[in-house]
Symmetry: C2
Subunit: 608 residues, 2 copies
Amino acid sequence: MVSALKRFLIGRPLKSTELGEQKLTKKKALAILSSDALSSVAYGPEQILIVLFTVGTAAFWYSVPIAIGVLVLLIALILSYRQIIFAYPRGGGAYVVSKNNLGMNSGLIAGGSLLVDYILTVAVSVSAGTDALTSAFPALHVHAVAIAVFFVLLITVLNLRGIRESATILAYPVYLFVAALFILIGAGLYNVFTGQVPAELHAAVGTPVAGISLFILLKAFASGCSALTGVEAISNAIPNFKEPAPNNAAKTLMAMGSLLAILFSGIVFLAFYYGIAPNAQETVVSQMAEGIFGRNFIYYFIQGTTALILILAANTGYSAFPLLAVNLAKDKFIPRMFTIRGDRLGFSNGILILGFLSILLIVAFKGKTERLIPLYAIGVFIPFTLAQTGMIVKWFREKPKGWMPKLIINSLGALISFVVVMMFLLTKFTQVWPILIFLPLIILLFHRIHKHYMDVAEQLRVSAAEPTVPIKGNIIIIPVASITRVVENALNYAKSLSANQIIAVSVCFDKEEEKKLEEKWEKWNPDVRLVTLNSLHRSIVHPLTKFIDMIEHKATDQNYQIMVLIPEFIPKKGWHHILHNQSSLLIRTHLLYRRNVCVATIPYHLQK
Amino acid sequence: MVSALKRFLIGRPLKSTELGEQKLTKKKALAILSSDALSSVAYGPEQILIVLFTVGTAAFWYSVPIAIGVLVLLIALILSYRQIIFAYPRGGGAYVVSKNNLGMNSGLIAGGSLLVDYILTVAVSVSAGTDALTSAFPALHVHAVAIAVFFVLLITVLNLRGIRESATILAYPVYLFVAALFILIGAGLYNVFTGQVPAELHAAVGTPVAGISLFILLKAFASGCSALTGVEAISNAIPNFKEPAPNNAAKTLMAMGSLLAILFSGIVFLAFYYGIAPNAQETVVSQMAEGIFGRNFIYYFIQGTTALILILAANTGYSAFPLLAVNLAKDKFIPRMFTIRGDRLGFSNGILILGFLSILLIVAFKGKTERLIPLYAIGVFIPFTLAQTGMIVKWFREKPKGWMPKLIINSLGALISFVVVMMFLLTKFTQVWPILIFLPLIILLFHRIHKHYMDVAEQLRVSAAEPTVPIKGNIIIIPVASITRVVENALNYAKSLSANQIIAVSVCFDKEEEKKLEEKWEKWNPDVRLVTLNSLHRSIVHPLTKFIDMIEHKATDQNYQIMVLIPEFIPKKGWHHILHNQSSLLIRTHLLYRRNVCVATIPYHLQK
C-alpha cells in the first residue's frame, strides 16, 4: 500500500539510462532556476524605501542612485558567474570555486552557508507567498502555517517526480509573472512619458535632504541587495542543462540577469516617480499597480502571479540544494546518502531533507519567517564574496589570454560583495548574529564527518601485508524460549553447518519454569545440550550476553568463531507481528553492535 | 543516555522476587483504587439537578428520592462486588465473572467495554481536573491541553515507577479530599440543624410539580448513576493487595462504599436544602462551599482538593487497565506483550498504551472531554449488568449454603444496572451511539487475535509423527559492494562453515563500475566466484532477491539450505551509523520476511 501511494505520487521508477531525457532546455531552466532571483524584485525595492523612509519621503530620490549601485553589483555578479560557468563547467558554484582556489575551509564556509541558505529560501519564500495569498483571502489567515506546509509538501513531491516534469508545471507562473511586471512597468512608463503623472509626487533627484548619512545610504544599499539573492543558482546547476551545458547555462544566466535588471530598475524608478511610500498594510508593487490600473482584473493578475512566484521561488532551493549536497557528499563532508539517485533519478534524500527542515522552520516560526530575510541575504553574500575572491586567485595563478578584464570584473564583484557582507554585519547585527554561531558549528561537523570517512576507508583497506588468519572452528548458540517446530528447524539447520559445538540456551524468569523446560528438553532432544540461565530482572539480552562473553573467552583462544542462530517464526500477515514478542529483534541488534559474533536468523514461515 | 533518563524517571530495575514488597495495604489501596469512585461525587449530584432543572427549581426535591434510588443501587453493587471478590479471589472482575458464567462472548463484551472505559476515565478525569484548575487560574486556560497532557505523562511515570510508590504520593490528596468534603457536609448539617438555613430556600419534599414525568425522573436517575463509576476497580485489582488479599479487598470495598454513600447523600441533601441550582459558571459543590463558608481559605481548600482528586481519578484507570489487559492477554485475546512485567514490576506495556491513547483522546477533543461522560457511564454499566447476571447464573448453578439472599442481591443489582443501561440508550442516544459501533469492532478484533494465536500454537507444536528431514548441504551467498576487509572477514568466515558452495554477489548500477570490480576481484581472490548483477533501477534488494530465487530453485531439489551472509562493519560511535548506507538492514529485513533463507550478519568492528 505504501509503495502504491509512492508510485501514485512520484510516478514509476526510471532506469538509470533515462537520465539524459531529464535534462533541461534553456527555457525551462530559466523558469526553474530564476524564480528565486526574479521573485526578489517583489520585495527588494521596498527594502530600500523602508530604510530611506526613516529619514523622510524627501530622501526617496536616493533610491535611484542606490538602484544604480545595485545594478552595477548585479552586472558584476552576472559577468563573474558567467566566467565561473565556463571555468567550472561541471557545476558546484561557490563551493567548488572557493575550494579549488582558496582551499578547503573557504569552500566549506561557502558550501555550509549555501546549504543553510537554501533551507531558508524555501521557508522564507513559501511563507511570503502564503502571506500574499492570505492577504487576498483573509479567511485563510488562521490556516497560514498549514497552507505553507502544504505548499512545501507539494513542491517536494513535484521535485521527487523529477526535474523535467516539475519544470513543465513551474514554467508558466514564472513567465506570467514576468509578463505581468512588464505590463505594469510598460503602462507606468507610458503614463510618465505622456505626462499623466504630476511631478509634485516626487522630489527631484539631487534635492538636498536633512539627516541623510553615509551609514543610512549603505544600509539602504545592503537592503536593496536582497533583490540579488538567487543569481548563483544557475552556476550550481550546470549538470542539469542539456548539452552543450556551459553555453546553455551562460545564455540562461544572461537572460535572467537582463530580466532582473529591467524589472528591478523599472520598479525602483516608477516607485520613485509615483512617490510611493512603504506601508505595513500594502506592498509597494501593490500600491503601484493600484495607482496605475486601479483595482481591476490586471491588478489581481499582478498580485496573483506575485504570490505564486514567491511560493515557486522555493523551487530554486530544491534544484540547487541536492546538487550542492552531492558535491559535498562526494568530498565526504556530509553523509554519503546524498549521492544516491531516487526512483525518478533526482537526488531524493537531498529533496526530502530540504522539505523536512524547511517545514520545521515554518512551524517553529509559525509562518512568520520575514525575520529570517537578513540572515538569508548575508548567507548568500558570503559565498558570493568567496567565489569571486577565488576567481581572482585563479586569474593570477593561471594568467590565461585576456585575463586582465576578467580579473577586474571579479575584483569589483568581490569588493562590492564583501562590502555588502560588512554592511549587514554593521547595520543589522541583531538579525544576522546567528550565522556567526551556526556557520562554525557546521564547518566543525563537516570536518568530523570527513575524519570519520577517512578513518573508515583506512581501516577497510585490504592489505596483503596482514593476511587473515583462517578460523579453526565454530560454536553455534541457539536461544530457545520453548520447544516448538521453530526450534526444531533451527537445530536441524545448525547440525548441517557441521559446527564443533551446538548449545541451546534458554533464559528463564522463574525456577519452576526452568525445571519444566529442562525436563521436557531431556525427553525430547537429548543430543544437544540445553543451558538455562536465570534472569532476575526479566531481561533476556543481559544473561544471554554474559553467557556469550564466557564462551567467547574460550573460543578466542582457539580461534573459534561464535554464531548466534536465532530461530524465528514469520507470520503470514504483517499485522500479526505486533502479536508476538520482538525479543529476536532485540537480541539481533544488541549482539551485532556489541559483540564479535555472527548473528544469524533462521526463519520458519507460518502457513496461516 | 536514554537508559540514564529511564533510570532517573522510573528508578532502578527491581528483581522478580521483590514483587511481594510492592503489594498494597488497605489504606493505600483505598487511596489508589477509590479516587475514581469518590471523585465522581463532585459531578454526580450536579448531573441529577441539571436534568430536574429542565422542569424547574420546584422539581429539585425529587433529587432526594432519586438519590435514595442511587444509594440502593450503590448498596446492591457494593454487596454484589463483595460477593465477587470472595468468589473470584484472583481478580478479573466483570471480565472473569461474565466469562466463567455467561460464556466467552459476554466476557469479551464486559472486558472490551471496560478496556475502553479506562481510557475514557483517564481522559475525562484529567480534563475535568484541568478545567477546575484553569477555572481557578484563568491565565492557564490557553494551555489547558498541554497541562492535561502533562498530568497524564506524570501519572504514567508514577505508575511505571511501581504501584506502591505511586500510592504513597497519591494517598494524601484522596484523604484530604474526603476530609474537605466531611468538613463541608458537617458544617452544612450544623447550619441546618441549628436553624440557620431559611426554609424558603427549598420546596418541601412532596410538593406537586407541573410537567414532571417518569421519563425525566429516569433520565435524572441515570445521570445520577454516573456517580457510581469506578466502584468495580477494587474487584479487578485483588492481586495487588497484601495477603489475605480477598479479605483486605472486601474491607477496602466496604470502606469505599460507605465513604461514597456518605459523601453522595450529604451533597445531594445539602444542595436540596440550600436550594442550589446548577449553573454553567460554577459547580454545585463550589456554590455550596461558598454559601456555607464564603470565599475564604476553606473554600479554596475544598476546590483545590476537588481539582486534585479529579486528576488523580485517572490513576484508577492505571491500576485497573493493565490487570484487565493481563487477563485478556493470558486468554490470548490481546497481544501477549501485555503480560510482561517491566523494570519496576508493573505491567509497563498496559501503562504506556493507556497513557498514549488517553493523550490521543485529550488532544483530539482539545481537552473538552465532558461530551464523553455518558459514553463513559454506559461503558461501566454494561459490565456491571453482565457481572451480576453472571453471579445469578453462578448461584443457580452451584446453590451454596445461604445462596438465596446472595441471589436476591445480585438480581436486584443486575436489574437496576440493566435499567440504567436502557435509560442511557433511550434518553441519551445521541451521545452513547458510538458504543454500538466500537464494541462489536473490538470483539471482532479480540476474536481475530485469538484465532491467530491458536493457529500459531498449532503450527508450532512439535510432533513425532513428522520428523524433520536432515539438510544435506549449504550454499552461502555473500553480498559484496567493494573489496574491503569487511568482505575479506566474511569470506574467511564462510570458508570455515564448510559450505558446499560460496558465491559472492555484487549489484552494480553501471557497466563501467561492474567491469572494474570484476577485474579487481580476479586479481585479489580468485578462489571464490563473483557474480555481478546489473540494476537498472538502482535497487539492491530486487536483483539480489531474483538471484536468490534462482539459486533456491536448484537448492530445494537437493535439500540444500541457503544462507545469505552479510558483511557489515560496525562503527565505534552510534551517530556514525547515519553516515553509512543502511543497505544491510534493508536486505536483512526483506529476505528474512520474504524468503526461506538463513540471514546472517558477520560484523567487522571498527577500532576508531
